[in-house]
């Protein structure tokens, strides 16, 4: 049963704190009932619908009771390939419930969620936001037994042991492995606390920006916007307040490199943010951390405190703020909406966040890796990055490699490395499909393994998924399309309505019920969604279909080979020709 809670403690709190407050309630009450919503509305002097709008937007908030313990299984394709079905069935059997429901004892909820940043140690689940990697049916039985006996998820995780020991900091004693497989010499240098900050402070702000520009650093979140240019624009705007925001939403399925940076390089990240704040004249900052990484929050906060106590964050107030489960909140303007305590719907651009950002003020939004690299540029100079890479993509790229490879994990490569080289080093056997850049990226076949990872060829925000000859292309594609249907914010027509139609068309093709003309429809409709959508999510969701069709045309054609040839295609244009002519007169 949903717990009651005294909400008077929230009286007078700001709207921008709404998501934090909702987290409190969700965690202590197991859900945020309509009744709780209206009493909270009273305390915050907001209308109930304002609260309802937010509660119903995020995956991890619920109006109904989700149990004292809440289990979220990773639905990513990688997890499916690693036996998630059996894990799910074991959970269902042990709990006596189905996905989306409560255990027979009424206290443990079982749910699914998109990629939780654990594709290198799949199948994985979050239980009360404690990560449980590498699940087996045996482990599941133990987990359920212990949960039923009242043991906390944290305690159970401890019994299973810690990660690979590289979780050096004593604050991140999690069961997660870092899985660092290939160290390069750009990221993996020894951190000397304060070096990046003092290097920056010894220069003028514009000199700092010039160094970043000279390094050729481009954003690592996906779009690759030149970081120096972004900082320069922000520095030249005059405003009473500017903000620095770190995008730690890491939602693209198959990406988990920020998870590593947030544990092993948190200090450098924070220094990088301080450097940015100095360069553009901002005195406040936020790390927007995805809810799936709750287990990293204490660590980040302690690192911030530590650097503060060393006097390294003077004139810079930095806070960690949590997301609540929404891939679209990785889109920078949706992220800002979420930071303001609202539904994570992307804003219209222009204006860009760098001009009109958080609370309407100039805001730098950068990926975790971007800030870490900025700090490294401060320590070692621009050539530390621009000595490697291609003409338009300088420096290294951290890859999160998962799927059918011998050594899934984190790799540092210089930009420009070919897919074939990467496949060799990570031990891919009989690779058939490589998905570069996650579902919103590019699906390639053997023919393209000679291509380079680079903004000018195959860009990637870090996700690199490998599928071998035994995998079914269409199962993968359906998983990706379902992801976009689930994650569309619903704001604009093409993405909200179009992705549903594209998913259904793909299903039809996979079932062998499509006709030859359906393949052309898939291309045309995908192009329509991509060209008319409002934000990057809808613009790139059809890539799944468009690029896989290019790479595996024969497989698509095989799917329609046996479709009924007697079926003729109704020619709508022809049938309505007379009407049109009449209409025009």
């Amino acid at each position: 049963m949903q717990q009651a809670m005294d909400l008077t403690r929230y009286k007078g709190r700001q709207r921008s704190e709404l998501i934090e407050i909702l987290w409190d309630i969700q965690k202590s009450c197991g859900g945020i009932s309509k009744q709780l919503q209206s009493s909270l509305a009273e305390q915050l002097n907001l209308s109930t619908s304002t609260i309802e709008e937010v509660v119903t937007f995020y995956h991890f908030f619920s109006e109904e009771y989700r149990g004292k313990n809440q289990i979220y299984l990773d639905t990513s394709i990688i997890a499916q390939h690693r036996g998630m079905k059996e894990i799910r069935e074991t959970f269902e059997k042990e709990l006596g419930s189905k996905i989306g429901g409560l255990s027979s004892c009424g206290t443990i909820g079982l749910f699914e969620t998109a990629c939780i940043g654990m594709s290198d140690q799949s199948p994985a689940a979050l239980i009360d936001f404690v990560p449980f990697p590498k699940l087996t049916p045996k482990k599941v039985e133990i987990i359920v037994k212990e949960l039923k006996a009242g043991v906390s998820a944290k305690e159970i995780a401890k019994k299973f042991g810690l990660g690979d020991g590289a979780n050096a900091s004593k604050f991140v004693r999690t069961p997660v492995c870092n899985n660092i497989q290939k160290k390069g010499d750009v990221f993996f240098t020894k951190w000397k606390k304060g070096e990046a900050v003092s290097s920056a402070l010894s220069k003028k702000p514009n000199e700092v920006i010039d160094m970043i520009t000279a390094s050729g650093l481009r954003g690592r979140g996906g779009a690759g916007f030149p970081t120096g240019m972004k900082w320069k624009i922000a520095s030249e705007l005059s405003a009473d307040q500017k903000y620095i925001v770190c995008n730690a939403d890491e939602g693209e399925p198959g990406t988990f490199k920020d998870r590593l940076l947030l544990t092993e390089f948190a200090g450098l990240l924070i220094e990088g943010m301080k450097v940015a704040s100095y360069a553009v004249g901002a005195d406040k900052g936020f790390i927007y951390l995805r809810a799936e990484y709750f287990y990293l929050r204490d660590h980040l906060e302690k690192q911030i405190k530590d650097l503060e106590s060393k006097g390294l964050l003077k004139d810079f107030k930095l806070k960690v703020k949590m997301g609540a489960g929404a891939y679209v909140c990785g889109e920078e303007s949706a992220l800002l909406e979420s930071l303001e305590g609202k539904r994570g719907e992307p804003r219209m651009k222009p204006p860009f966040p760098v001009e009109v950002g958080l609370f309407g003020k100039p805001t730098i939004v950068n990926n975790v890796e971007t800030f870490v690299l900025a700090a490294q540029v401060m320590r070692y100079g621009p050539q530390h990055l621009n000595k490697m890479g291609t003409e338009k993509s300088k420096g290294p790229r951290l890859l999160s490699i998962s799927g059918d490879v011998e050594k899934p994990g984190i790799y540092e490569f210089p930009w420009g490395v070919t897919v074939a080289e990467v496949l060799k080093i990570c031990g891919a056997k009989n690779p058939k499909i490589v998905q570069v850049g996650g579902p919103s990226g590019t699906c390639i076949s053997k023919n393209d393994f000679v291509r380079q990872l680079a903004f000018e060829d195959l860009p990637t925000g870090g996700s690199f998924m490998v599928f071998d000859e035994s995998r079914d292309l269409f199962e993968i594609l359906e998983n990706f399309m379902q992801f976009f249907v689930d994650e569309s914010c619903g704001n604009c027509t093409p993405c909200r309505a179009g992705n549903v139609i594209l998913r259904d068309l793909l299903k039809k093709i996979n079932l062998g019920k499509a006709r030859p003309s359906d393949l052309q429809k898939m291309i045309d409709w995908g192009t329509l969604v991509s060209k008319t959508s409002r934000c990057g999510l809808g613009m790139s969701s059809p890539n799944v279909l468009l690029t896989s069709f290019k790479s595996f045309e024969d497989e698509f054609k095989n799917k329609i080979k046996n479709s009924d040839e007697l079926f003729f295609d109704f020619d709508e244009e022809k049938a309505t020709k007379e009407y049109r002519e009449f209409h025009r007169e």
Partner: protein, 229 residues
Amino acid sequence: MSKIDITVDGVKFSVPENINLVEALSHQGIQVPTLCWYQGMDECLGTCRVCTVKVGGRHSAACTMKTQKDMTIEFDTDELKDLRRGVIELLFVEGNHYCPSCEKSGDCLLQAQAQDMEMTHSRFPYEFNNYDLDFSGKNILLERNRCVHCKRCTELFSDDEGHKVFSFIGKGAETRVVFDHEREKKLSPHKAKEAMDLCPVGAILVKGQGFSKPYGERKYEKEPLWEKK
């Protein structure tokens, strides 16, 4: 206001700087179809994407753009006409629009745009989604089958005391419009009518007034969109 030159489909026009692109083009006799945007709106919503054009070679929603020096716009091309009609068709299959029995028929902007674009059918399969109606209001009937999720009601409408009445719940394809029942009860007849008129389609209806204006005398029947061209 200073004037600047922009190019539309290869023709130069001199227009005021930094004004809404749809509005600027409309003064030049070029009517960009819109659904969420209407003339006189201060802020645009950018939700429907019916106004898609190309600006500087990039597909963009015209209502979200401001006129700038040397802007190059493509508008009347086969590709763009097809994209815009495609977006309208998406709305017809996502919702359930039975125009002949709709209270808003003839006053509905979706219907008017579809007619203007000579849409005879939708290229997409109909989804026949299930939408709940909300009859429980005192003044207003919410017919969600027809909602195009334009956000006019959630962003632009407020009651006499300045409070928001409509909002969205859920996300993605599950997004639904709802109203605050307490505030709805207190709406003046005048305000309720305002909400109905604000909604471009027949999703917000004032109870008992759906047919107060007879068919045949309605806005787009008397003045179809193509007559403006």
